[in-house]
């Protein structure tokens, strides 16, 4: 186990959940920026990922004050579902999964890349990274922080 960042286990757990909250909030605000400010219409898969990401912000925050490590019980299912959706979306966007078997052939296609940063960083990839980070932090809290 990594050296605790704070003096005791509860502090360690708090830090992990707090970091997960920072990732979820950053991801949620970024999604809102792309959708509401830049005016990109989210595709179907993006909506499902939003459904998993947005509630993590209040749920994780509620678990911080006072700290309740059982917050992972409620946050992990959301994080896991979002992570699976993000992986699927990444597969569609990178052509590993053909678009025709996906539920979004009408309207905004999920395979269309709206944004490519630094030549490789796409939105589905960012989503995978964000959900992976949250999942990792919550699993650490769940299994590595002593009661």
């Amino acid at each position: 186990m990594a050296r605790p960042l704070f003096s005791d286990a509860a502090d360690h757990g708090w830090t992990l959940v707090f970091l997960a909250w920072v990732v979820a909030t950053t991801a949620s605000l970024s999604a809102l920026f792309l959708g509401e400010v830049m005016g990109y219409t989210p595709c179907v898969l993006c909506w499902y990922q939003r459904i998993c990401m947005f509630p993590l912000v209040p749920v994780l925050a509620a678990g911080l004050f006072p700290f309740d490590r059982r917050v992972t019980r409620y946050a992990l299912p959301l994080a896991l579902a979002g992570w699976l959706l993000a992986l699927f979306h990444w597969g569609v966007a990178s052509g590993l999964i053909p678009e025709r078997v996906t539920p979004c052939s009408q309207g905004v296609p999920c395979s269309q890349e709206l944004v490519v940063w630094f030549g490789f960083l796409t939105l589905p990839m960012l989503s995978v990274l964000a959900f992976s980070a949250i999942l990792f932090l919550l699993l650490l809290t769940r299994f590595k922080v002593p009661q």
Binding site: W14, T25, V37, M38, F65
Partner: protein, 217 residues
């Protein structure tokens, strides 16, 4: 300590979001203004229906989709402005039929224009929009009943609407909409400049400012 850290993080993230939003809308507004200034020729075309005297100095160009709900809601508002300033405002109407099947309705309106009944037909259709648009898709068969009783020769209207010339004019409107970056309806240009952001208030402010400029008391 923890509370302070949490509040600080929340504040930083929120401020970053607000800052980015402000910066982005500002940049986009400037860009839209430059873009409109460079493409003034695409705003007014001879075929487009107009309201108000040609000599009027305040010129509004509206891109409208007859199947668009927001366009229907804006229509009385724009008309009230024209009624309040009958000598000062000139309105040019351009069509941006973005809804599925809406181009067929625009063809009918342009055909009605040939019979000098454009505005009557437009108002009749906007007033009954709920009846002939279902889930954002135009139901062409349900448009016709609302064109009766307006003094239109409906047989002639049907022939004119199928005229390739009208299809060409619709294509011209759509091409101009694209040139001017009109992607949503209604879109307004006041004296050649787009609205800084969308809304009744923004339109009213822009028109009032243009009126004050053109007709100082």
């Amino acid at each position: 300590m923890k509370k302070t850290l949490f509040i600080a993080a929340a504040a930083v993230l929120l401020l970053a979001f607000l800052g980015a939003t402000l910066y982005y809308t500002q940049e986009r507004g400037d860009e839209a203004q430059r873009h409109a200034s460079q493409n003034q020729a695409a705003l007014e075309r001879p075929h487009a229906p107009t309201l108000g005297p040609t000599r009027a100095k305040v010129r509004i160009v509206e891109f409208l989709d007859p199947a668009c709900e927001t366009c229907r809601r804006f229509y009385p508002f724009v008309k009230d402005m024209l009624i309040a300033h009958p000598e000062e405002i000139h309105l040019t109407l351009r069509y941006a039929p973005f809804h599925q099947g809406s181009d067929q309705v625009v063809a009918l309106l342009m055909a009605a224009q040939k019979q000098g009944r454009h505005w009557e037909a437009l108002e009749a259709l906007l007033n009954t929009q709920n009846d002939w648009v279902a889930h954002h898709v135009v139901q062409p068969d349900r448009v016709w009943p609302h064109l009766e009783g307006l003094g239109l020769d409906l047989a002639q209207l049907r022939r004119d609407a199928a005229d390739p010339e009208i299809a060409r004019l619709i294509a011209q409107d759509l091409a101009d909409a694209q040139t001017l970056n009109v992607t949503k309806t209604p879109e307004f240009f006041v004296d050649g400049q787009p609205l800084p952001s969308f809304g009744y208030e923004q339109l009213k402010e822009m028109v009032d400012a243009a009126l004050a400029r053109a007709y100082p008391r």
